[in-house]
Symmetry: C2
Subunit: 311 residues, 2 copies
Amino acid sequence: MSQNEKETFKAGTNPLDVTYADGVGELVVKPNPDDPRLTEKVPGIDQDGSPVIASVTVERPLTLFLNGREIVTMMTICDFPEYLAVGYLVNQNMLRPDDVVTAVEFDEDLEVVVVRTERETDFEEKLKKKTLTSGCAQGTVFGDVMEKFERVTLARGAMIKTSWLYTLMKKINTAPSLYLEAGAIHGCVLCQGDRPLLYMEDVGRHNAVDKIAGFMFLHGWKGHDKIFYTTGRLTSEMVIKTVQMEIPILVSRSGFTAWGVELAKQVGLTLIGRARGKRFIALAGQERIEFDAAHDEAADEPIELRRKGSR
Amino acid sequence: MSQNEKETFKAGTNPLDVTYADGVGELVVKPNPDDPRLTEKVPGIDQDGSPVIASVTVERPLTLFLNGREIVTMMTICDFPEYLAVGYLVNQNMLRPDDVVTAVEFDEDLEVVVVRTERETDFEEKLKKKTLTSGCAQGTVFGDVMEKFERVTLARGAMIKTSWLYTLMKKINTAPSLYLEAGAIHGCVLCQGDRPLLYMEDVGRHNAVDKIAGFMFLHGWKGHDKIFYTTGRLTSEMVIKTVQMEIPILVSRSGFTAWGVELAKQVGLTLIGRARGKRFIALAGQERIEFDAAHDEAADEPIELRRKGSR
């Protein structure tokens, strides 16, 4: 696939065909607020009773099958159903690192995505017992996700410079996005150094993370030298997913939950929250932070870029 | 229960013992940021590498049983486990309006809450098929929730004055809360006229809604003359839950999803979003809004009160 084709990478493209070139300065995957399938114009009224046209995010059901077994139906903006499908399975430990994905088939009319693997899979027992997690209080984790969590070792040598953090946040907040277009959406960004690589958005933060996990799995990207940024809160499941991707550094505009902090400490994840303008707080893994930016280098955020997760 | 006891209403109080007096000007249930079980002080560092102590929200697992059958394990701040338990069952259609709850037993050590009903219940089949919803992409709705949704008729005569809206938002944003104390939390408020009645917070917005639904069920409160305020987005499941509570008006600081708007229109729910300071947009059920406030009566929000859901 040529450089040119990659730049026009679109929703619905078969992810197995996508390659990436390292060293380019651009986001490899970025939001596409101009995709007419992702937002809808809805007529309404404003505070004066005057007619307005609002741009709102479109969510669609997507039913995921793994080798002929129905796993779950998700609501998603459906820009990257294949990444979402694979990432969901990876983050639920239903796909193992050595699993070979032979096909990912998305049928837009049926609203179905099917992931096929070489290995036979069976999750009858697993699907019976779920724990709803806290970000939304309704996410699910399975028992063996925690078992895997306890076996992960995060890269000790990884680091984040405060100058990178300020650059990343500026790039992310000013990138065209569905958030800026229509709001009501979560964003997650996989970064390396001061460069954002994959910027995924979705109605649910879980989906945004899972799409990044799916991309990483299908393209063989590793997490040990990456930084993960989320607009959402630093809850237990956000920590668990970051660790499952073996990413050593997690950053958010939003705040922390106590269990998120506890899990991060346990596994040695660097946890940076309430990151806005020049301010942030780190509550775990502080040793990976290099304070190379005079803190007046980062300006306060202009009001028009302020967004959710301000605490 | 005396007026005095009601004012000291605490986490863990058996909800079946709680009464309320109408006509009082105070919140009947309000956040208790001073409850030491709800937040934890965690040492960390700030952007200069200086030590700081951050206040973070504590989330706990809570396993819900209905008449001896395990339903689900949720993560919650666990301030009102009984309301959460009953509200979850109500909003999942596992409790019917005519069901008699004979007991709600919370065991703090076991992290278990048991709801007992007169009617025998069995949800073996129901529990097998779930749809993850969009707010977090991992919420769940069951098939018959939508069937009930289609049968609900919302009060046509209900209304909201813009002056009430501005008063409500000011009261809610300035009320002491876990959000102001520790962040990383969602809030939902049940209101009547310009008066907030129940202000519930939780790590997951679903929990906050469910706690209000549980309170309403156990105390026989009706939704037809109420207004529901949420800090979260106006997604399909937020619309579905509001309609299930038979509340005709839903307000949020945050934005809309297309399916949320579509469902609201279908059922005639008044949907007001992006409500900040003097601004808001209504995308469904506009006929219930009375524009009685000159829009310069509501001041713009002071920066220190700006919070998540700014779009």
